[in-house]
């Protein structure tokens, strides 16, 4: 169980960290606020998931231990969440893919047999639904904007789409959890997800890509080239001031 909570927490933390890189660089001040607010929510989700994971695995590790005292290889986030921001349209495409998946997953988690996880799921689903609204709106705005914004949105979708399959991967851990009613398997959510994102992309006047390959490895700790610097940045303060608290 704690293994799976770590994966979810890693998804939220890594994507939150990526979004933080937009601060002071977003296209407008409003967008700066939007992306940092979304990042804040995600980091909040990660904290709750890490705390629970540490309590469950018997090691007593804290949220800080998980975020700051693990190596690159120990992070089990889906590769989608660590993809570089690219231009704004690529970030929007990444948000579109993640938020539609996360709402579906957390809504399913709200029915978990574990009451604490269920409470977390229903709460997190509401928050991510707000992020989804933001992603949907931008996808349509850029798709229906100028020729250039539509081109970039199309490029963004093509860039991130090969990484979406990994979100719905099922393994022995997930099958066991699903069987016990503790956590839903993401695999059956894929059809709904595809239908939803396709509808948004169509409203934007674009077509959802059909990738010829699918990235995997994140859940096993195998990451992209760009992941090292991200973790280094995330952990830099803790490395300079070991044991520091803030």
């Amino acid at each position: 169980m704690s293994l799976h909570l770590l994966r979810l927490g890693d998804d939220a933390l890594v994507l939150g960290q990526r979004l933080c890189q937009w601060i002071t660089r977003a296209p407008t001040v409003d967008e700066d606020l939007a992306l940092s607010n979304i990042a804040l929510d995600l980091i909040g989700h990660a904290r709750a998931l890490f705390t629970r994971a540490g309590a469950l695995d018997g090691t007593g590790r804290t949220e800080d231990d998980f975020a700051y005292a693990r190596s690159d290889r120990e992070f089990t986030n889906a590769l989608l969440t660590e993809l570089p921001n690219g231009d704004f349209a690529t970030t929007v495409a990444r948000q579109l893919a993640y938020t539609h998946y996360a709402v579906l997953f957390y809504e399913a988690l709200a029915h978990s047999a574990d009451t604490e996880l269920a409470a977390f799921g229903s709460r997190a689903a509401k928050e991510v639904a707000f992020h989804r609204m933001h992603a949907d709106r931008w996808t349509v705005t850029l798709g229906r904007g100028t020729e250039e914004s539509a081109r970039r949105m199309r490029h963004g979708l093509e860039r991130v789409w090969p990484y979406t399959g990994e979100l719905f991967e099922e393994d022995a851990v997930l099958r066991r959890l699903a069987a016990s009613g503790t956590a839903p398997s993401p695999a059956p959510l894929y059809e709904t997800w595809l239908w939803q994102v396709t509808a948004v992309v169509a409203e934007a006047g674009l077509t959802a890509p059909t990738p010829t390959w699918s990235a995997r490895g994140g859940r096993a700790g195998l990451h992209t080239e760009e992941f090292g610097p991200l973790v280094a940045e995330l952990q830099s303060v803790r490395r300079q001031f070991p044991g520091g608290t803030w």
Binding site: A34, I43, A48, E116, F120, S122, R123, K126, E127
Partner: protein
């Protein structure tokens, strides 16, 4: 409940609850934690230690550690140094938990409060925009769904031509 602790003044659970409720919210100091609806039950746990339940507004609310520390100080001041703060996620916090007094205070400080909960659970229908806390006009429109803090969005008043924060209904 050791013998020595009995000598101290120990305030009752309702008294502690009142003091915790009066604490200002770190992000919205105009409103107390009680009026914001984040304070749950204040009662002794299974081991007899006084517990204060806190329901976070948002999971990533950056004020949570501050709130927890402030509640702990109240517990100590009230003669419950061993008291605990417990985060409760179910049922989740919604803006319906903000009291009438809380809504009044928000409006008085230029933050448009979220729509009031309907008394019988019916969905309130808003025929016009959120009223501007400055001039009262309902000729307002959304500007940015994300505002100065996680629970606020920004609206635009077309009458007085000023933006204003609105506590997002949740």
């Amino acid at each position: 409940m050791s013998g020595s602790a009995q000598a101290e003044v120990r305030l009752s659970a309702p008294e502690v609850r009142e003091r915790v409720g009066a604490l200002p919210d770190p992000e919205l100091p105009v409103i107390g934690l009680g009026d914001l609806g984040v304070v749950g039950a204040v009662a002794p746990g299974a081991d007899g230690v006084l517990e204060v339940e806190i329901t976070p507004t948002y999971l990533g609310c950056p004020a949570l550690p501050e709130i927890t520390a402030a509640v702990r100080e109240v517990l100590i001041a009230c003669g419950h140094p061993e008291g605990r703060v417990r985060q409760v996620l179910a049922p989740p916090w919604t803006t319906d938990r903000i009291t009438r007094e809380g809504r009044r205070k928000l409006a008085a400080h230029g933050i448009a409060p979220p729509a009031s909960p309907a008394p019988d659970g019916a969905v309130p229908v808003e025929l016009a925009g959120v009223p501007c806390p400055r001039c009262g006009s309902r000729a307002t429109r959304p500007h940015s769904p994300f505002g100065p803090s996680r629970c606020q969005s920004v609206l635009w008043c077309t009458a007085c031509r000023e933006p204003f924060p609105h506590m997002t209904a949740l």
